[in-house]
């Protein structure tokens, strides 16, 4: 039988009567959810890549002075660290972000040529660099973006480096990074004798002691032996380093503003819709519609805006991440993968945004006097 009217069908027809306004509102919420998916997804992927990098190299603890952004730790501290009984290896490293070309910037790591961290990399061509030589390894993604091969040269901060190898690391950060001898990075950065952190690999935990407990004990031992320094478990370092925290803060801050704009656009649409349909709401009330049912109708319309806008937003966000992960400027720090939990979270936020935005217009519509509503022009 044709012409069946369902409650949700009725809600959709109400939205579709003002197609342009509905489409613009959907566009607004889609952009807001898209921003959330892209920005928060990016910052989480960034954090995840840090964790993968630590896990891949087998680093248990990072020892830093103040913040991850400072390269102010004295390299001589390494000897004291290595003397501690629980420490198997303590390797100095520098981390920096540098412009390689006017278009491409990349993470640059300074490691010692015999660092255990290099063992985690797979060389797809060439060989490792040597300490004291202007030689570099390029992550495979970065090499592709720079169109460099083994034997080519690359100028960094006025020094010409020879590409000795192309590596494939366990994380996108390494795949998009330059790795060079520690001493060379200290030289080009004018940071002789200074390092960003020591990456520590511990001896195996004694039988019967949990790894977490063992790492915490080692942290305490390091901090007691080296007052003023912080020993941070690698997993915590991945989520709490200043760069990741900044990325999270920027992502959430920008997303919150975008979501607020999205919520306001739905609220505006629903408020206008309720105003325009005042008489129709009076008709519904005259026909026996309960207040809660009128509220439910308006909230359903707002929720549909949130959900459909949210679905579009998931596509926008995912597409943005895909785009960013393919651009040379951002490929090294953006992963195209988005977790299903993140998508579900975005979808939930879209639904809640719709319901929050529709709440006041729905309440107002439901509490109109039927007689006054019917008189409304």
């Amino acid at each position: 039988m044709a012409g069946k009217l369902s409650f949700t069908g009725f809600a959709w027809k109400n939205l579709w009567r003002r197609r342009l306004r509905t489409l613009l509102t959907l566009g607004g919420i889609a952009m807001a959810i898209g921003a959330f998916v892209a920005l928060v997804g990016f910052s989480r992927a960034f954090e995840h890549e840090w964790l993968r990098m630590y896990q891949g190299t087998g680093t248990d603890i990072a020892v830093v002075e103040k913040s991850f952004l400072n390269t102010s730790l004295d390299e001589s501290v390494g000897a004291k660290l290595r003397a501690l009984p629980m420490v198997e290896q303590a390797r100095p490293m520098i981390f920096n972000l540098m412009d390689l070309t006017p278009e491409i910037n990349a993470l640059v790591f300074g490691w010692q040529a015999d660092s255990y961290e290099l063992d985690s990399l797979t060389l797809t061509s060439g060989r490792r660099f040597r300490d004291g030589q202007p030689e570099i390894l390029l992550g495979d993604i970065l090499a592709e973006n720079l169109k460099k091969r083994v034997g080519d040269t690359l100028e960094i901060q006025g020094t010409t480096f020879t590409v000795t190898g192309i590596d494939h690391g366990g994380s996108a950060l390494e795949a998009g990074a330059v790795i060079m001898p520690l001493d060379q990075l200290q030289q080009v950065s004018s940071l002789q004798g200074k390092v960003t952190a020591f990456h520590v690999r511990l001896r195996p935990a004694p039988a019967g002691e949990a790894q977490d407990h063992y790492v915490k004990r080692a942290d305490a031992q390091i901090e007691a032996a080296l007052p003023g320094l912080h020993a941070v478990p690698a997993a915590e370092r991945a989520s709490n380093n200043q760069i990741v925290l900044l990325a999270h803060a920027a992502a959430w801050g920008t997303s919150a503003i975008a979501l607020l704009i999205g919520i306001l656009s739905i609220a505006n649409t629903m408020a206008m819709s309720v105003f325009e349909r005042t008489r129709e709401i009076g008709i519904l009330r005259a026909l026996g519609w309960q207040r809660w049912r009128v509220m439910l109708l308006i909230q359903t319309e707002a929720a549909v805006l949130g959900l459909v806008g949210g679905l579009l937003g998931l596509g926008v966000g995912w597409g943005t991440l895909r785009l960013l992960s393919s651009l040379p400027q951002t490929a090294s720090i953006v992963s195209a993968s988005v977790s299903s939990l993140h998508l579900l979270e975005a979808f939930g936020i879209a639904l809640l945004s719709g319901l929050a935005a529709g709440a006041i217009p729905a309440w107002r519509g439901a509490h109109l006097s039927p007689v006054e509503a019917l008189r409304h022009d």
Binding site: M1, G3, L287
Partner: protein
Amino acid sequence: MINPQLEVRNLCKSYDEGRIEALRGVDLSIAQGEFLAISGASGSGKSTLLQLLGGLDTPTSGEVLFENRALDTAFNFDDYRAHRVGFIFQAFYLLPTLRAIENVQVPMLAVSQDAHNRAERAEALLCEMGLQHRLNQYANELSAGERQRVAIARALANHPSILLADEPTGNLDSVNSARIMEILTGIQKQRGMTLIVVTHENEIAHSAARQIRLRDGKIEA
């Protein structure tokens, strides 16, 4: 009158903090199945009386009783409007985004009813109104007479026992007016429904079994 279906006692309704008195002590009893016409000049209070009889508004003082039960704050007005009364308005008040058959289903959405049954009943009612060929037309694609017939079908959707019509022919030409009144009186007789029509047209008022005339918020003797 023994056991009236609808009764109003000393009904008063004022607006604007008492400055405008629309109804001033109206007493009225209406029997089940009666056809009552309420007439009067503009502003006499006839539409206000109809709204109070239909539970659309509450009186300032006095009471409305449906089957000896007072329509007051304890009474579920929504339930009363959904199940007991059907409204027909001068301006039809069809929802513009819906087809005729969907408009008739709108009151049924307020009560629990299967979607298939809703559509089936809406189609049957529209066929009864002679609109079997206009089921899928939107309001703006229907003539004024057709719109009012859709509105009558909508008013009958939830099997009410009372039909309340506020100037049902006010926007119609004489041919359509006669057709609509024929339909309404036919429904009243065949279904034994109470029909209360507010009108300023003498011809319609005279066609009712009983006529009351309001003047300045009171029933004229």
